[in-house]
Symmetry: C2
Subunit: 208 residues, 2 copies
């Protein structure tokens, strides 16, 4: 699976053939078909393994931690650590997200959904504990964007490591939510029609 | 170019052939080769056009605006508006970023670099005006991640529009920087002197 990840990452999924995968993994073509039946299945197994691992680790690390901010920081640190330690796998995951057909895609979707849901619950808890109002969906997806985008730019030799990145992004994200979430981040469906003070704040942002 | 963008977006660049592109654009294969010489060239033209347009619009909108926070908000709004209005093109841009060979890739890199640099200057101005300390590189790339990731999840029928997204992300980002940037976002002051970001970038010309 590591070798296959490497191939998908270097050549892209669409351009990789079972023959390439056979060569890279040192498995006969027949053997490869026997175990994985198709390259789609292989991609599925890689994605499944990655999501299950990152989800499981997050859940373990969150055990016994009650403070909402700290829980979000743990989630971010776990994601970035795993991401950077498995950069090729994460690139394949991010890049080939929509490639699987409906059946296998459904399997991945449900694990992904659990992971998304975990992050959402952490944010909902923050909202309750700090009396904040913001769209959890937008916040989760903004956070994922910030974190996942690193596959396009992170250079292990020159850039900050996982811990520093987690501190930076955790600070940016949490301070952003805590400081803005009391008012302006509220883009709830009701407000989306009326759109009152949000625009005022965007024209004259609060100074600190 | 619109039809070609559609094909690259739906099938992926690697899986698209000049024959597919010929069919989708209603141009003969010979005609397509005459104007674009290769599908790589076509991808290059799409990327070039997209980056030039978004950069030019940002520069125009920034004219005459002096306030650093407002300038960052304009940049964010411009990016998201263009992104959502040209979602297919932006997907191709985000997704096929590393596909071009060295020569054409260099051309895109230099426009991309200008766009990155513009955003970086906006952040540097914010740092000066608010006495903040944070890594401009990390901030720019976190912002791009937040914004560009929407190509993976945004549903025009159900999700917030560009203006609302810009308000949300602008608030999150600016409040985050303003509130955290006075202290905790300063991840590695030592590193910043030891390894200036400019040289980091010049060592890796294909990244921004």
């Amino acid at each position: 699976m590591d070798s296959a990840t490497q191939v998908f990452c270097d050549r892209g999924y669409a351009a990789s053939s079972m023959r390439d995968l056979s060569r890279a993994t040192g498995t006969s073509l027949a053997g490869l078909y026997y175990y994985f039946e198709s390259k789609e299945r292989l991609l599925y197994e890689i994605q499944k393994h990655t999501f299950e691992t990152i989800l499981q680790r997050a859940q373990e690390r969150l055990k016994g931690v009650a403070e909402p901010e700290e829980r979000i920081r743990i989630f971010i640190r776990n994601h970035l650590e795993y991401f950077l330690a498995n950069q090729k796998g994460m690139k394949v995951l991010s890049h080939e997200a929509g490639v699987l057909g409906p059946e296998l895609g459904q399997g991945i979707h449900s694990i992904k959904r659990q992971y998304y849901q975990l992050c959402r619950e952490l944010l909902d808890a923050l909202k309750v504990s700090h009396w904040l109002k913001f769209s959890s969906r937008l916040a989760v997806l903004s956070l994922f964007g910030m974190m996942n985008w690193i596959y396009t730019w992170h250079n292990a030799k020159a850039d900050a490591d996982a811990e520093e990145l987690a501190t930076f992004m955790g600070d940016l994200f949490l301070h952003g939510l805590l400081s803005a979430g009391g008012n302006s981040l509220d883009v709830s469906p009701v407000r989306r029609y009326a759109r009152p003070e949000t625009s005022k704040l965007s024209e004259h942002p609060t100074r600190y």
